[in-house]
């Protein structure tokens, strides 16, 4: 005869008043998977949450944003880490799998455009100049093709892998929907390789997450971006207040609404949103404005399902997260 087992449901009765003190009594498993860009943040939160709730087993995978959404839509995981908003087809798959989700932005990832420190001529770049360098139909061969007074030295480009969220975001901003990014670039999935590439070539230009620039400040030079309102360098300040535009992208977690009813998941998300600003900065990303965290907290509490990044017709809504996310 099987022994009777204590039902987790017993804890559910307490869930209404789950505060910091009773997280210690929480039990259960929380499964998270998705973007490896978001992973360090979720890892930091889960690490701290383990101290607050020692009996909750949190596991975090790194299948990538797309892979994570696939498992999320099949109901295999409770939370999906995503380095971009959910796409239309992913939203539809989730709907067929009867997975309702709550969308929560958690951080900014600034994109830094960097050059070699020996490059003395580039003082700033505008989005149009970036288009001249990166678009397939213009594909500037030398720096002179970008701005007439610059030397006729060949441009060497280092780019993250075309499957990565970083590349996706850069493509969306620079190339938009109709155009494409040139293919004659040195591509690597490992951003550290890009750092070494730009470090070793005077005529190189590359782009990747700000954290990689911050760690290699002595070897690289960051290019201020002029978006019509003067040149802006990516810093925590300029990314958070939105002046470093358009190269900062929001990072998200998506929570299965049914999972969110479980007390341990609810406690984890409350913990996540409360500690995100501090932990996000610690692992090298930029915190969102307080208003966005407040909106996320409100949406989670009210269980608002769906995404703000797709309109009623399923078309993509673009714009800064501060305006789009409500």
């Amino acid at each position: 005869m099987k022994r009777l087992m204590i039902a987790f449901a017993a804890v559910a009765a307490l869930s209404g008043a789950a505060s910091a003190q009773d997280t210690k009594s929480l039990k259960g498993n929380i499964k998270i998977d998705g973007s490896s860009t978001v992973y360090p943040i979720t890892e930091a939160v889960a690490e701290e949450f383990k101290k607050a709730a020692p009996n909750v087993n949190v596991t975090v995978g790194i299948s990538g944003t797309g892979g994570g959404f696939k498992r999320f839509s099949a109901g295999e995981i409770d939370i999906a880490d995503a380095s971009r908003p959910i796409k239309k087809d992913e939203h539809e798959t989730a709907a067929t799998g009867k997975v309702e989700y709550i969308e929560l932005p958690i951080a900014f990832d600034g994109l830094s455009i960097v050059i070699n420190p020996k490059n003395t001529w580039v003082d700033k770049l505008s989005v149009d100049e970036l288009k001249k360098i990166f678009l397939a139909d213009s594909a500037a061969k030398t720096w002179r093709d970008v701005r007439a007074e610059w030397p006729a030295e060949p441009i060497k480009i280092f780019s993250p892998g075309t499957d990565s969220g970083t590349f996706d975001y850069f493509k969306e901003v620079v190339a938009g929907k109709d155009k494409s990014i040139r293919s004659d670039m040195s591509v690597s999935e490992d951003d550290n390789v890009l750092v070494r590439g730009v470090e070793g070539d005077k005529n190189a230009i590359g782009f990747f997450g700000v954290a990689y620039y911050e760690e290699n400040k002595d070897k690289l030079k960051v290019v201020p971006i002029d978006n019509g309102k003067g040149a802006v360098t990516p810093t925590a300040q300029t990314i958070e207040d939105g002046t470093y535009a358009p190269f900062s992208r929001p990072l998200f977690i998506y929570v299965n609404k049914k999972s969110a009813e479980r007390p341990e998941v609810k406690a984890f998300i409350d913990f996540y949103l409360k500690n995100a600003p501090a932990l996000v900065t610690e692992v090298g990303y930029v915190k969102l404005p307080g208003s966005v965290y407040a909106a996320a907290g409100k949406n989670f509490a009210s269980g608002k399902a769906g995404t703000c990044f797709l309109d009623d017709k399923g078309e993509k809504v673009s714009g800064p997260v501060t305006k789009v996310y409500k």
């Binding site: 009777l4 039902a7 998270i32 992973y39 360090p40 890892e43 409770d78 067929t96 009867k98 490992d190």
Partner: protein, 438 residues
Amino acid sequence: MSAGLPASTGMLPGGQPPASSRDDLRRRRNRRLKNQVFLVVCIGATSISVAVLLLLLGSIVVQGAKYLDLDLLRNFASRKPDEAGIKAALWGSIWLCGICLVVAVPLGICTAIFLEEYKPRGNTGKRMYGFIQLNISNLAGVPSIVYGILGLTVFVRMFGLFGSPNLSVYDEMYRLRLADGRTVLAEIVDIEADPVEAESPVEGTLSIPRAEIVESDRFYARRHTFELRDGRTITGDLSEFTTETITIEVTPELTEQFAPADVAGYRTKNVIEHGEPESFFYLRLPLSGSVLAGGLTLSLVILPILIIASREALRAVPPSLREGAFALGSTRWQMIWRMILPASVPGIMTGTILAISRAIGEAAPLLVIGGILFIMFTPRNMMDDFAALPLQIYNWASRPQAEFHKVAASGIIVLLGVLLVFNAIAIVVRQKFQRPLQ
């Protein structure tokens, strides 16, 4: 040849040493020179590969020395390089390799024995044999990520036969067997309470005294199949049940309602569990992203390598041994067990070493079947989630912080250590079973 030529040249007239003799001298010098050059080339090639290996090991040891201590082995993953440890990944990899050894090695050796020692004679048999051989050679070249996709369908999801592999998102149900012989399917708030309050789709709300429950079986369920008295069968998501009606969502748009009295029987598409999650013998279907699913997937990856290596080892046993054994009247089984296997153990073990080395370094298939990195516990049984060394090392190496690159180097040293231990086991086995051919 060199002895024959001077004899023939001596026959030529004249006191001068014949031209062909000088040719011969030059040819001999040439041959020696070639011999020397080839030796130098071989030594050069060897020392280049050894030098590269030493350089690699040296740089890793230098980089990894800082974080290589017991804390690395004792701690779980952390955002702080000082506290980051490899415990979960290390134990995950050890479990994976253990499962691979237990599953793949016997399978590989048996397959190799079948292919080498029991060659079929008939026409159809020969064609089948050729087909299997072709497949094994091809499978050895298939990228490991393909095995990951196979493992995801077969082991992790088990073709969806048992519902979703995430046990947490689905309703927790109980199957209760009562003293009066009835079986009740129910949702229960607190199974420890007395009486147990149960909500059952078929029986309605029940209040059962604890003493009446003979057996309780917890499972996770979502899809139910109801067989109605009118002969219909309805399968779907059970969305609501009261004493009067049972509502089942057949598709997202369509719902069906019927009375509990109409139900002739019901089945639940559910997860099969045996034992308790904490125990060592806990079993569950589907395997989901468990360490057993990971181990089985890696076994698939290394199976072709093992089969090919074991076949080579069996083939290297001289046929005279087989003929001798047969001549003395032994059966095929006695011949294989007493003669062929002991003689081929060294070769098979070498193949095993290569295969396990491959298994421990594989990241791609694990990424496909689950790819967990952050986990705060080590597997207690084969159904637990796991992390693995190559994934952890790759993640650390691709972080922006230089300190994490050093932790990654320490991780590589640990990985090499584990590999050495597994290889040492294989070598010990080889020494133990090796018998000189008499």
